[in-house]
């Protein structure tokens, strides 16, 4: 028995399409539920892991607004129904895997039947984030719990606080207004790849696996350099990496974008051991072992 990924959905913002972080999250969550054959009422837990949204809202949790927008049991408690619990997780580009870890615990305990993990980022607003570096995008993952061996089979997280200055996102007062500034050191990707590989090696060891057992690596497309150097550090052939377009990087939704690509290309169909790995500010790495199908 394990937590299974029932559906993945990705929504890209563009020039003509909406660029609100919240609306991208709404659209991704709704599309993902639809793909999973579920409705808002089926959602027991909704976790938002996106960071940059409209006006840099501080409270409530953006997840509560998304819950309202997708009509997931938003009403006052009443007999015969059940509610939805919503909150946000912030863990940089490792947010989605952190959200999956949290959902996995509640699914494992039988507390919930379905969880939606959503992530989106977009420029928070006019003149609020000059040089905002990320492409507007939203993504969602719907999870459930199923009998049988397929599903999420373990997690590992690790941080290197010594490298915490390599990626920073700060909202501070400058030129008469509060502005978001995202600072990324040129060395960030170089430092992230070996650290990601080290955490992933620990995860594989937990399951008595070696790099040769990994059929597919799904990584958040931090930068092109990160994706280029990761296979060598992991000891996994390059053709087992899912490559996502990194011309304009997608931030917290990045892991789901890569997972969606693998899903669409049919690369999950025959994979036994999939390594999900993210690296982000901290320097923090999150890794999970996913078994879409077990022979």
């Amino acid at each position: 028995m394990a937590t299974t990924i029932e559906a993945v959905a990705v929504v890209a913002g563009g020039l003509l399409r909406q660029r609100s972080g919240r609306k991208l999250a709404d659209a991704a969550a709704a599309a993902c539920l639809d793909r999973a054959g579920l409705t808002g009422d089926d959602v027991d837990l909704l976790i938002n892991t996106g960071l940059y949204h409209d006006r840099n809202l501080g409270e409530p949790a953006l997840a509560a607004l998304i819950q309202s927008d997708i009509d997931a049991n938003p009403q006052d408690p009443h007999p015969g129904g059940h509610g939805t619990f919503s909150f946000d997780i912030a863990n940089g580009a490792c947010g989605m895997l952190t959200g999956l870890r949290v959902a996995d615990g509640f699914l494992r305990a039988g507390t919930i039947r379905h969880a939606v993990i959503v992530a989106s980022d977009a420029n928070p607003g006019r003149r609020m984030a000059p040089d905002f570096p990320f492409a507007p995008a939203g993504a969602a993952i719907v999870c459930g719990w199923h009998e049988g061996p397929a599903g999420l089979a373990g997690f590992r997280f690790g941080s290197r606080p010594a490298d915490s200055d390599l990626f920073r996102a700060l909202v501070g007062f400058e030129h008469g207004r509060n502005r978001l500034r995202i600072e990324q050191h040129p060395d960030f990707a170089d430092r992230a790849a070996p650290w990601a590989a080290k955490v992933a090696a620990g995860l594989l060891a937990d399951s008595q696996l070696t790099p040769s057992d990994i059929d597919l690596v799904v990584a958040n497309p931090l930068t092109a350099e990160f994706l280029d150097s990761l296979p060598a550090h992991l000891g996994v052939p390059r053709d087992r990496m899912v490559t996502a377009d990194t011309t304009t990087p997608v931030h917290t939704a990045g892991l789901a974008v890569a997972l969606h690509e693998a899903w669409q290309d049919g690369r999950l169909d025959n994979a036994s051991n999939v390594l999900l790995v993210s690296a982000g500010a901290g320097l923090t790495v999150a890794a999970a072992l996913y078994r879409p199908s077990v022979p």
Partner: protein
């Protein structure tokens, strides 16, 4: 049993072989006291509002820039660890739950997460870290997550921590509030505090955390919104206080009853209720409504600290828990209900039993 709340209760057999307990609590309060009359004397407009009479808030602690979200959180975390038998290196997870994430003055750090900086500051070198945001229900949501992981044996112990440098919202509000109808009135009750609670696996047979249940009534999600200010330092918060109070009063009794049903208790078997601290009047009215609906009352009046500390956002329950332990008002065996009520609209209850160790590790030295 169909419950509206997303809820876990102990014991629950194979799917959760362990029970979690509240191991220790810590807090850090800034030294400076800001009396309500002094704050109200600083308003730009003649408001005619008697805030102290309206809310019961006499004073709050404020940072004068000497503390920020990180120093308050780290200070509380060290206080919590000093009262625990656990060392920082033994923590499996550190969850940061504050709304404010100010460091180096009024700079809000969105990445890396505050939890990582706290873990680094206290020496929790082996801990997984992440931040969790759920308005004023943040810390109790963190307890809910850590409780779940401990119950399954995924981890042994975790630290849930928050530092709220949020009094600057009151200073911003003081420039804008004109009348009692202002949506920034609630901002004037805010105070600064850091809080930390260590949750760990309980010895076999110990009652620990017996029920934790939460829900989000998202039809009311837009009743309290906070943003970075457009042209001022820090942030502003806009609250439709009456509407949020009415929704809370309408929804809380049903949900509290679900927690009691899950634990097999009647309301008069709960010794202490620590509600979120918004105003003395709101707490008394809310508890009275819960009592009427549930046909009884907890054994003691609801804990009130808002008169001394104001509304310290996500830290209120743990600040109050430390206060009650320090004052020796909690005894081993007492059942305590922590009741979250937050923008979202988030409603949650954590029900736990105080044990000897928790009573013993906070002396009267705070």
């Amino acid at each position: 049993m169909t419950a509206w709340l997303m809820m876990e209760r102990s014991p629950d057999g194979d799917r959760a072989p362990f029970v979690a307990r509240v191991g220790s609590v810590g807090r850090r309060l800034p030294e400076t006291r800001l009396p309500t009359d002094e704050l109200m004397a600083s308003t730009r407009h003649r408001t005619g509002v008697d805030l102290e009479r309206l809310t019961g808030v006499q004073e709050r602690r404020v940072s004068l820039g000497d503390e920020d979200s990180l120093t308050l959180a780290a200070g509380a975390a060290l206080d919590c660890l000093a009262r625990s038998h656990n060392r920082a290196e033994a923590l499996d997870v550190v969850v940061g739950c504050s709304i404010t994430k100010y460091r180096d003055g009024l700079v809000q750090w969105l990445e890396p997460p505050t939890s990582l900086a706290v873990a680094h500051a206290i020496g929790a070198s082996n801990a997984m870290t992440f931040d969790l945001s759920n308005a004023c229900a943040g810390m109790l949501t963190g307890v809910f997550v850590v409780n779940n992981w401990i119950r399954q044996g995924a981890i042994r112990r975790g630290l849930v921590v928050s530092g709220e440098y949020i009094s600057q919202l009151a200073h911003n509000a003081a420039r804008h509030v004109r009348t009692i109808l202002s949506r920034e009135l609630a901002s004037l009750t805010l105070g600064d505090a850091g809080a930390a609670v260590l949750i760990e696996r309980a010895p076999e047979g110990a009652p620990g955390i017996s029920v934790a249940g939460f829900t989000t009534v998202a039809d009311h999600s837009r009743l309290c919104l906070a943003y970075p200010a457009r042209h001022e330092r820090g942030a502003r918060m806009f609250t439709r206080a009456r509407a949020i109070h009415e929704a809370a009063i309408a929804d809380t009794p049903t949900l509290f009853q679900e927690v009691l049903d899950a634990s097999g208790l009647a309301i008069d078997e709960v010794d202490h209720v620590i509600p979120h601290q918004t105003s003395v009047r709101a707490i008394r009215k809310g508890m009275s409504e819960v009592g009427d609906a549930l046909g009884g009352a907890p054994r003691n009046p609801a804990v009130v600290t808002v008169d001394r500390y104001g509304n310290t956002a996500s830290t209120t329950h743990v600040v109050a828990l430390a206060e009650e332990l320090d004052a020796a008002r909690l005894r081993a065996g007492d059942r305590v209900a922590l009741v979250a009520l937050a923008s979202g609209l988030e409603i949650g209850v954590v029900l736990f039993t105080v044990d000897d160790e928790l009573v013993g590790n906070r002396g009267n030295d705070d």
